[in-house]
């Protein structure tokens, strides 16, 4: 009896050690490559494998490379346009789904989440076939349309989460105090949804900025975005300027994601847990 329980305790202790080691390795596995990438973006050498002192000239090079600057411009155009459109549509869809009943709501609801669950490559092929079928020439506009298509889903997931936790009595109170539907939306619903809407928008911007697969399929000859540019640079050999570009993109994406999460958590006001 005694030996049994002490053996058990030892087993548990070993188990805990193994688990924490496991967690440590998981984080290393995830973040070590990123850390190495950032370190070597400051490496004063053409080689990616040997350290030769600190420099920032790879970063400066980026900004004088016209091909990178044009890719950056394209990326920002696509991300901004698709974010604005998907935020508006995504918010409207969320309100329709949460507040109104209409014919065919359930299948529509399921379809709304499709872009989140289906593989990027499937969606990319589908969109390409669609554009070819309607004889639409590929270019920035087709990338924007495609990004809107998947971003609506992500925006509406975030906005709906917020909407679902909003006390419906607040909107009723507004109507009781002589606000019509329009005034109720702008005076009460919208301000309370805003953190969710901005969170969704930041998420959409990040996803658009980072997308490769769908963009690759729907881009035209002169509509290269940053991820496409990086990939074509890698094909001609990995140089530290790629490290620098990747580090920058990662930093921007991470900042956006953190901001988005903060906004969604912030302002639990008006949100009830039932």
């Amino acid at each position: 009896m005694k030996t049994g329980s002490s053996r058990q305790r030892t087993l548990i202790r070993i188990g805990q050690k193994v688990l924490s080691l496991h967690a440590l390795f998981s984080y290393l596995f995830l973040y070590l490559p990123i850390i190495i990438l950032i370190i070597f973006s400051f490496n004063n050498s053409k080689s990616v494998f040997r350290w030769a002192g600190f420099t920032t000239h790879w970063y400066l090079d980026l900004f004088s490379d016209p091909r990178i600057m044009s890719a950056l411009k394209n990326s920002l155009i696509v991300a901004s346009a698709s974010t604005i459109a998907s935020t508006i549509f995504g918010t409207m869809v969320s309100i329709a789904m949460e507040r109104y009943d209409f014919f065919g709501k359930l299948p529509f609801d399921a379809l709304l989440y499709l872009p989140i669950v289906i593989p990027d490559i499937t969606m990319a092929v589908m969109l390409l076939v669609f554009f070819v079928t309607i004889h639409m020439p590929l270019g920035l506009h087709t990338i924007i349309i495609s990004h809107i298509a998947f971003n609506i889903s992500f925006v509406s997931v975030t906005v709906r989460a917020r909407l679902a936790s909003l006390d419906p009595a607040l909107e009723e109170a507004a109507q009781d105090l002589y606000a019509n539907e329009w005034q109720t939306f702008w005076k009460v619903t919208f301000p309370l949804l805003l953190p969710g809407i901005i969170g969704g928008a930041l998420m959409a911007f990040t996803l658009s900025l980072d997308d490769y697969v769908i963009t690759f399929f729907t881009a035209g000859a002169r509509s290269t975005t940053l991820p496409l540019r990086i990939y074509s640079m890698v094909k001609t050999g990995v140089k530290p300027d790629i490290n620098a570009l990747s580090s920058l993109m990662m930093m921007v994406s991470m900042a956006l994601v953190v901001l988005s999460l903060l906004l969604q958590r912030k302002g639990g006001e008006g949100v009830t847990i039932q």
């Binding site: 009595a169 009723e172 109170a173 507004a174 109507q175 105090l177 019509n180 005076k187 006001e269 008006g270």
Partner: protein, 358 residues
């Protein structure tokens, strides 16, 4: 009073949700300036009734009128009523003053007047110093008062309140009951008040509608409801009552002789038409019964509980029936008057025993 137009009128109003009948053929007339309560157990349709007056729900059948105006499909923002919600529903992104000003702004009242009326409303609920706080920074009782101010500032014709004191603790609740009642007589606005607390309804209301399973069982003043319940449900829901079941032996005008459990004869006042041989319930409140050393109706003291102001006796009347008797402890020796196991006589005024059919 019978001449004037009622503040709110419900005529054969029914509300169904799918196959749930939440409100079933309710007819009510609520007079101008009245403090009217809807009282009943959970799920009996009180909130649904109130929401149909406010315009958040539309009746499946029947008519709602406010000051004689048929409401039909009129949306809430066009009805001359305001609501105090159970959860208060204060706008969390606005300050207290902005919350109170909301209704006036929507009605396009001039700025100067808004400022003045908001200040008055905050004064009325005695929270003028809270104007710039957010609702999150208020206590439950303070939120409750701001919700009240936000509704009353609009000077509605009717104020609807859905268990507005439900979330407060007992002591605060008692204080707010008196405050609300005083406020109502001060502003003279018709209050329609939803509660499941019978004591609250009795203390505050001019009239009460007792509801159960979507139906209105009885409408009357607190005294009428308490002294003259028209059904077993109402008698049981309001206060404490003894029930005896038996058959009608004889009808004598307003009264009937009922043979309880086939052994004891009691005389009670009729609340509706009965016929001989009919199965009925006789209801008697514990404080209406008097104990005597002997009498026509007799029982045995089974239990005796001293509770300070009163003594509570449980008397075995028949094999199946017991009666609770409450006697006030006027003198010091009162509680020792009757002992456990002793045979006693029971007396009451004929109008205190009610013969209930339903």
């Amino acid at each position: 009073m019978a001449e004037s137009i009622p503040a709110v009128e419900l005529e054969h109003v029914t509300k169904r949700f799918g196959n749930v009948v939440a409100v079933n053929d309710v007819t009510l007339r609520i007079a101008e300036g009245e403090f009217f309560s809807l009282l009943g157990p959970s799920g009996c349709g009180k909130t649904t009734t109130l929401r149909m007056i406010a315009g958040f729900e539309m009746p499946t059948a029947g008519v709602v009128r406010i000051r004689g105006q048929e409401m039909g499909e009129t949306p809430p923002f066009k009805r001359p009523v305001n609501t105090v919600f159970q959860s208060y529903a204060l706008f969390p992104h606005l300050t207290v003053a902005q919350n109170v000003a909301f209704g006036l702004e929507m009605q396009k009242v001039p700025r100067k007047e808004i400022k003045q009326r908001v200040a008055e409303a905050l004064e009325m609920v005695r929270l003028p110093q809270m104007a710039n706080r957010k609702p999150k920074q208020l206590s439950g009782g303070q939120r409750q008062r701001i919700a009240l101010a936000r509704a009353l500032v609009n000077r509605p014709q009717v104020l609807l309140l859905d268990e507005p004191l439900g979330a407060l603790d007992l002591k605060l609740r008692k204080a707010m009951q008196l405050e609300l009642k005083a406020l109502q007589s001060q502003v003279g606005i018709t209050f329609i008040y939803v509660t499941h607390d019978q004591e609250e309804a009795l203390t505050m209301s001019d009239r009460i509608a007792v509801m159960n399973e979507g139906r209105v069982y009885q409408v009357g003043t607190p005294r009428e409801i308490y002294e003259r319940p028209n059904s077993r449900f109402v008698a049981d829901f309001i206060g404490e009552t003894n029930f005896l079941t038996g058959r009608v032996e004889e009808v004598r005008g307003e009264q009937a002789v009922v043979l309880v459990d086939g052994t004891v004869r009691v005389v009670g006042t009729l609340t509706g038409p009965v016929s001989r041989g009919q199965e009925v319930t006789v209801a008697i409140r514990p404080e209406k019964l008097r104990l005597r050393p002997t009498g026509e109706v007799q029982g045995r003291v089974e239990e005796l509980i001293y509770i300070g102001t009163d003594t509570r006796y449980v008397i075995r009347l028949t094999e199946r029936s017991r009666l609770t008797v409450r006697t006030q402890n006027v003198g010091i020796g009162d509680s020792q008057r009757f002992r456990q196991g002793e045979r006693v006589g029971l007396e009451w005024n004929d109008e205190s025993a009610l013969v209930l059919v339903e």
